[in-house]
């Protein structure tokens, strides 16, 4: 006669082992789980600021627009001033582009807003001022060798920039000898 009690014990042991195996399998991390990676995207946008000058319009002036010839990182403006007294001319249209707040300053080669004759020996001079953005900031300065601020804390522009008029007002007392009177302006855009 066979003793089946031993067989039952063996079966129960196998079942217990099977259950333990199943439990271990369930507890183990599933290799089917989703796999992830994380990538941080950094797009670095630099400061993008620039200014350029072009011919001005004569709007709002008494003498019309000067003749503008581009070159040398800017341009040369020529006006004819046959009038005694004070005459205003369109000097340049300045286009300003900046993706943050900025300022515009001006300095000149001659001191104190002075146009000097180009002919040797001519010591006559004409005095002048410039007016920046007459329909906006409307800042008037007599340029000098040290920088004068035309506008400060200007707002960030669009990508195409903003264009502003700069006028020059020349005072001719009628005594200056015929000549070409000149000065060189340096317009600077500064970004804090």
């Amino acid at each position: 006669m066979r003793n089946f009690s031993t067989g039952s014990a063996l079966g129960a042991g196998l079942l217990a082992l099977g259950a333990l195996g199943a439990a271990l399998l369930a507890a183990a991390p599933s290799t089917e789980a989703a796999q992830t990676q994380t990538v941080v995207i950094n797009a670095v946008v630099p400061q993008i600021c620039s200014i350029s000058v072009a011919a001005a319009s004569g709007a709002g002036t008494t003498g019309g627009a000067g003749t503008f010839a581009a070159g040398g990182g800017g341009g040369t403006v020529t006006v004819t001033d046959a009038n005694a007294g004070t005459t205003s001319f369109g000097l340049v249209a300045i286009t300003e582009i900046c993706n943050k707040s900025y300022s515009v300053k001006v300095s000149s080669a001659n001191t104190g807003g002075t146009l000097k004759g180009v002919t040797g020996g001519n010591t006559d001079t004409l005095s002048y001022t410039i007016t920046y953005d007459p329909t906006g900031s409307n800042t008037t300065v007599a340029p000098s060798t040290t920088q004068s601020t035309l506008a400060t804390g200007l707002a960030k522009t669009t990508g195409t920039g903003v264009t502003k008029q700069v006028n020059v007002t020349v005072t001719n007392n009628g005594l200056a000898q015929p000549d070409t009177y000149t000065d060189t302006l340096t317009i600077t855009q500064t970004v804090p």
């Binding site: 066979r2 067989g7 089917e32 990538v39 941080v40 995207i41 670095v44």
Partner: protein, 186 residues
């Protein structure tokens, strides 16, 4: 000569007797009345799914710094209009069965600046531009870039993931978003 044959015969008999004895022992143990009925053991070898993804520097494009969980892809954007397209990273996919790739973005397809800068850059992701070429705006919930991709080789397959930024005239800053790339296996 006769003596050698005798020795040979004697050796063969010893071998036969030993085999018979071993057989008897086996028979006795198998048929021992106290033993249970024989049990059947089935051996199952489970081969788990081996699927994973990794990221690395792209082929051209963004500069890539690996991190423990992925990486940081940085690019310079001085484009103020139009579209800036650049590879971001290389995605290497390995899987011994079919799988899918899902990409989610923390800011939902928007690159945001720092501090109080409210300017943003919108963008799209181009998954595998030279293959699947799946272009989409990533969302926080995740977008399926590709599904039912075939089982790969052991070395996996490498794909480029590119970004398409809608350039805009925004303040100088670093604009960021965080992508989570997930490989899912049904």
């Amino acid at each position: 000569m006769r003596r050698r044959r005798g020795r040979e015969r004697s050796r063969r008999w010893r071998v036969v007797l030993a085999l018979l004895a071993a057989g008897a022992v086996l028979l006795a143990s198998a048929c021992e009345p106290g033993r249970a009925a024989p049990v059947t053991v089935t051996l199952n070898v489970v081969v788990p799914g081996a699927c994973f993804i990794t990221v690395a520097a792209p082929v051209g494009g963004a500069s890539f710094t690996p991190t423990a969980s992925g990486g940081i892809a940085s690019l310079n954007d001085s484009t103020t209009s139009g579209l800036l397209v650049s590879n971001l990273f290389t995605l290497n996919e390995t899987c011994d069965k079919k799988y899918s790739i899902v990409i989610a973005a923390q800011n939902g397809g928007t690159l945001k600046g720092t501090g109080g800068n409210t300017d943003v850059l919108s963008y799209q992701i181009d998954y595998d531009p030279s293959g699947t070429n799946s272009v989409f705006t990533p969302s926080a919930a995740g977008v399926t870039a590709a599904s039912k991709l075939p089982k790969t080789g052991a070395g996996g397959v490498s794909k480029q993931v590119a970004i398409r930024i809608n350039a805009a005239f925004v303040s100088p800053d670093t604009y960021s978003d965080v992508l989570t790339i997930t490989q899912t296996v049904p």
